[in-house]
Amino acid sequence: MIINHPLLGPRDSSEFYHLGDATLINRPDPDAADAAEQFYEYVYIRDDPAGEYRELWYHEQGDRSWLVVTRNTLTHEISSVELARDVARRQGK
């Protein structure tokens, strides 16, 4: 698989470390009343879709940036790559 890095251009996926679902950006509020329940879902429970999937990749062998990659888990086709920083900022993080 080739990941089209927004800053560096096309890079081989073996340069990256795959962390998992992009919802991991949304860490729950530890002070919330139901924080334990929210963290249980955050850490352990996944949608795991067959089809379009937004996921976090870390450019470990490169510029060490975190990316949000939208990829189809049935075909491995990548439809968009963004800097995780930009995604997080857009979500007000």
Binding site: H18, G20, Y44, D47, D48, A50, E55, L74
Partner: protein, 416 residues
């Protein structure tokens, strides 16, 4: 028809005209007492033990494709019980004991061959870990032998003992481990279940569950709706997709694991050998092909095919361990999709929906577990209580912090 040497002789003398189809191809009835969703190894084993061991009747197995078309026909056929944690060891040792009697039990040749598994270690730290694991195995009634360098050399003189980077310091041997013909395991269980009256319905995909007021009363399929008192889902590799039909989210990610086979060679490897400085397991089939595999591809996938970096990595490990194989030619590679659970351990449990049961999360260790998984799931379905050897495989264990993390990797499915 009972299979035996006498039967072969009799059929041979009468022109082989008396052989019957190995299982029926029935139409689905409108209702069953038990429906098993998934005609893989675990589903067929569950149906077989439900009928044969727990004396239940009116059972159907529904399979989307043809039986054995998923992971039971895609694995590297290794059977072992070399586990460490007390939640796992009795279960896998029970499985190995069932394997040892399987062929006599279901009257089918599964080519079970106890040729041993040798886990190499390459450092003092790894030797300590191997000794600890071996002790845990012996305590759980399994067998384990700690070999030093010379012991390994006697067994496998062809290994690269003088590799500068990964010198072989010894190995942990489980002599009773081995391999089994994976397709024959599915066929044997299917035939055994069919002989007990189980309806095996192929090309019948479950497309929904009939759930009302928190109780499941049947399934919707491509062959119509079928009622059932109890529905047991057993579809590892597709668990997230199928359980989503019941509105459930699971502590599972689906990943792809590749496997490989070379062209047929003369006998070179006596048993199963694993590389300790990476992840590589290799054995030789009765046909002569070297069957091997390594890590999962480490990204979520339902594609049943992987990518080249893993192939390269596995080939490099093979060269580090057995340089003599450098000229062996790869015949085929393929992929299977795995339920990778959050702690690397499986689930055999009820769900919060009445009448709906779940078996999955086998990561890439499901094949060896087939008999025990079938037996324990059948126990749960028949009695509504977990089998004593499978009480820890709960679906709610992450909520309560009672995880079974055999490798100590944390909630990171691609690292298990």
């Amino acid at each position: 028809m009972h299979y035996s040497a006498l039967q072969i002789l009799k059929q041979g003398l009468t022109g082989n005209k008396g052989w019957k189809p190995v299982w029926r191809e029935p139409k689905p009835k409108s209702a069953y007492d038990f429906i098993i969703v998934g005609g893989g190894g675990h589903g067929l084993a569950t149906a077989y033990y439900l009928a044969e061991e727990f004396k239940q009747a009116n059972i159907a197995v529904l399979e989307k494709g043809w039986i054995g078309s998923g992971n039971v026909g895609r694995n590297t056929t290794i059977v072992r019980s070399n586990y460490l944690l007390p939640e796992n060891t009795p279960f896998y040792e029970m499985s190995l004991k069932l394997w040892e009697n399987l062929e006599q039990d279901f009257n089918y040749n599964a080519m079970m061959s106890q040729r041993g598994i040798l886990n190499l270690f390459h450092s003092d730290g790894e030797r300590d870990a191997a000794a600890r694991r071996g002790n845990a195995m012996v305590l759980s009634d399994a067998d384990a032998v700690l070999l030093d360098r010379e012991g390994v050399r006697k067994m496998c003189p062809f290994l690269d003992f003088d590799n500068e980077r990964f010198p072989i310091k010894g190995g942990l041997l489980q002599p009773r481990a081995g391999t089994a013909r994976h397709d024959a395991v599915a066929w044997g269980y299917a035939r055994g279940a069919d002989r007990c009256g189980v309806d095996i319905i192929q090309n019948c995909e479950v497309t929904g569950f009939q759930i009302e007021n928190g109780v499941c009363s049947g399934v919707e399929t491509t062959k119509g709706n079928i009622k059932a008192n109890k529905v047991g889902v057993c579809v590892a590799g597709s668990s997230s997709r199928v359980m989503a039909l019941a509105g459930m989210r699971l502590p599972i990610e689906t990943h792809v694991l590749q496997a490989f086979v070379t062209e047929g060679l003369k006998p070179v490897i006596p048993g199963v050998v694993t590389f300790g400085a990476g992840h590589l397991y290799i054995s030789q089939s009765d046909k002569g092909g070297l069957v091997f595999g390594g890590d999962i591809d480490k990204y979520n996938s339902y594609a049943q095919r992987g990518n080249l970096p893993v192939i390269e990595h596995v080939a490099e490990e093979m060269m580090a361990m057995m340089p003599m194989l450098g000229r062996a030619r790869l015949l085929r590679s393929w992929g299977g999709v795995m339920d990778m659970s959050m702690d690397g351990s499986p689930f055999i449990d009820k769900t919060h929906i009445g009448g709906l049961y779940f078996n999955g999360g086998w990561c890439y260790g499901g094949f060896k577990a087939t008999p025990a998984s079938g037996m324990c799931y059948a126990h749960l379905l028949a009695t509504d209580t977990p089998h004593p050897n499978a009480t820890a495989f709960r679906l709610d264990r992450f909520r309560h912090g009672i995880i079974i993390d055999e490798k100590g990797q944390g909630a990171q499915p691609n690292q298990h």
